[in-house]
């Protein structure tokens, strides 16, 4: 997924404006240390219990292990932190490829959801994303049983078509974009 730097900047700008338009908050970090500091600040703000998926728990000051947490235990979490598998610039979406049911739950049960999105993982369009999804779900060992594309915090317009942020899922979605993440 190597591409010229100017292209990446354009995708970051488009991603940020689309995600913001659907009520996500977006922060951009130039390196992993900056991201750590940003997450530490969020943990302070969140208070209560913070939980992170295995891929990002190392970035947090202290977060209990997510593995084996029951649904009831997860329901007490005030902020969940996940790592995005892809981002989509066209729609400002984060795509998760959770490794377990607990990771799936973490993305929807807490009032706050923070997604770490490495900049090299942003694709330009929905069509490009679908090519990647097709590759991920086609593997015989069921590598991607569940792929979810999240575009803003949960919402409903079921009452008078008035958009209300925070339905059954998070009321706040924070996307932390990070450059210089090692896996590009």
């Amino acid at each position: 997924m190597n591409r010229p730097a100017g292209d990446a900047d354009r995708l970051v700008a488009l991603f940020a404006s689309e995600a913001t338009a659907v009520d996500a908050t977006v922060e951009i970090f130039d390196d992993v240390q900056g991201l750590r500091d940003g997450l530490a600040l969020l943990c302070d703000q969140a208070g209560g219990r913070v939980m992170a998926t295995a891929a990002v728990s190392g970035l947090l000051p202290s977060a209990p292990r997510l593995a084996d947490s029951s649904a009831a235990a997860l329901a007490e979490v005030s902020m969940g932190v996940s790592l995005a598998w892809r981002g989509v610039a066209e729609t400002g979406s984060c795509v998760l490829l959770p490794a377990s049911r607990s990771e799936r739950l973490l993305a929807v049960c807490a009032p706050w959801h923070v997604v770490v999105l490495p900049v090299p993982r942003i694709v330009a369009t929905l069509d490009l994303l679908m090519e990647d999804v097709a590759g991920a779900v086609a593997t015989a060992d069921g590598q991607a049983p569940y792929v979810t594309m999240i575009t803003g915090p949960s919402r409903t317009a079921d009452i008078e078509r008035i958009i209300t942020i925070g339905a059954h899922g998070p009321r706040r979605l924070q996307v932390n974009l990070v450059r210089g993440w090692g896996d590009a």
């Binding site: 739950l105 779900v137 049983p145 979810t148 999240i150």
Partner: protein
Amino acid sequence: MPEPFARRYRDAVADPQLAANLLTFQRGWRTMRDARFDAASTSGAPDFDDLRARLAAAKDRVLADHETYIEQFSRMARANGVIVHRAADGDAAAAIVASICRERGGSLIKTKSMVSEEIDLNHRLAAQGIAAIETDVGEWIMQLRGETPAHMVMPAIHLNRRQIAATLRDATGHPVSDEDVADQVRTVREALRPEFLSAHVGLTGANALIANTGSIMLVTNEGNEGLLTAIVDVQVVVAGIEKLLPGLDDAATQLRLLARSATGQAITTYTTFITAPHDGQELHVVLLDNGRSAMRADPEFSDALRCIRCAACASVCPPYAAVGGQVFGYIYSGAIGLVNTPFHNGLDNAAGPQSLCVSCNACQDVCPVDIPLPAQILAVRRRVVEQRGVGALKRVVFAVWRRRWLFNAVFDVATWLSAPLRRNGELRLPRPRAHRWRTVPAPAVRPAHRLIPAHTPGRRDGPLAHSAARGQRVALFVQCLTDRFSPEVAAAAVRLVAACGADVVVPRAQHCCGLPMFDSGDWPTARVLARHTIAALESSDADWIVSTANSCVVAVVHEYESLFKEDPAWARRARALAARTVDLATFLDRVAQLPDGALADAPADHGPYTYHPFCQTRTVLRADGSARRLLQDVCGIQLRELTEANICCGFGGSTSMTAPEVGRAIAERKLGNVDGSGATTLVTDNPGCVLHLRAAASARKGRPLRARHLAEVLAEQLDGVDARERQAAGASPGRPTPGSAQKRS
């Protein structure tokens, strides 16, 4: 299951809140939806037409080879560890779900699924002691109220926040704000969270089933899908077999169309692809037929299986806004509900709702898979009539109407008898309460066929004499309604066409084109009149058939094709006639090619003008641009912008007679928009619309509005220019006429 149709209709029109809520909803929806598609096309992304052609083609590929795609999906899903079931009908599907629930403790938690509504799953399970709990905010509210969804995407959109607050207070026993929607949503979240946490079996629908990966695509906003599918040990997906798509690239096309069409979002908050069970979960997919195979085998209806349940056809539909989805539909609502109900829930349950369609074609205009919904609704209507007859009143009316001599005799007598009641072109008649919102137009003392000569030679002088139509032979198709109620419109058309230098003939044998019978589902009678019309107009030996009745032009150029589908000889004659049949605006703009300013004149001051295109002028004839050009550029009339110009006036043939409350609601919406434009003259281009709007405007006291046919306005301009030229020729040349240089606003 819903109450009988007549009862649902009565309840809906008796509830003034309902139409108010829905009107607000429709206006907000349309603005958002249009803005989304406009934004996409201006940014260089694929536009609506492009996307819908692509998705329709993908759906058609599946439908052409349905069983192969079902097999492919099933094979892939099974390889992924999914348990795939096939259910022929609601009984079979409910039995599968019930047996899964019984194994796992006996209750069920759900996300919104229209298929489960279609088969009345909750009640079927309840009868077996299995409780099913809805979690979608709107759907839960409907479950609490014991109602079926009023809209496929926003089930409770017919209610306002105060009605919803009352429902939530009753259900939870907690105080709930009447005004604060966020508080109401929080109440739902808190009430349902424990239900999620204790659930074992969960049911979802599917927005698409991806054949080449075996994936289930789910599109949601609220986060209930994510909670439910992660928590439950057993997930059951119930999906109609029309939900198949070949691959994930097609899913991207569907996503782009679905959210914009459904809610006006660029994309929904959560889009999920479930391909395999996770961590020891059990995942079932129940593929439901329930009439879909019969639909696919039916050439008139198979296209309707493209539907992606976006509900745009409801969100755009004027009669839907008047009565809501529980009346305009059965379980499925909006235009698609009128079309698929016969297959999923029986023709009897479609019989009432289909009568409310006004054939404005707005639904097909916004349908993201281009389903020919208006034609399909008429086909449902035809089948209802074939089974139950057209009804006693229409049988008598049509028996008179189909015979020209009898029709004329009845009108002559009625005109004579009603003469004492005539005042200013209206009849002072007592009317039932439901009809008091409009006056009754009086039939003309002299019908057009006794007013207009059979032959009017083309003029060799005057402002339009050198038009491109000079020397052509034009037959005027008058229309039966115009003949009896608006002969001045036909006379105006003759003056205009003759002024273009064309010879005008008015074939005396002409009568009704058959549209009222066609629209009412009585196709045998419609065919009698269509054959008569074709023969009468053919005999004129004209280069062009021109009419001021755009609905009847649509009948000739569009509907005759369906009428004579199985009669090749008449189909050929109909096609030949259709090729030279045009509405007046198209004739003057495209055939005669009147130049800008040719009719610029400023006669009597009638105040500001606005133009409402007859629905099918816009959606079928695509002639609204010609009408606007004639008014603005040829006549120099500055038109006031009309909000919701693309919404029907509510005439809808016999609908405004049989469902007067629907006709009234739509007419008031139109007149409100006309008032908002500041216009005092409303120009439109179909006699039915003119009469309907004139009658509705006349009944409201104190707000005078001139409703005029386009032909009358253009002829007024012509008379003004003629008078000016005569004056100029007679009096001192070069002297400007008062007002001739300035444009009216």
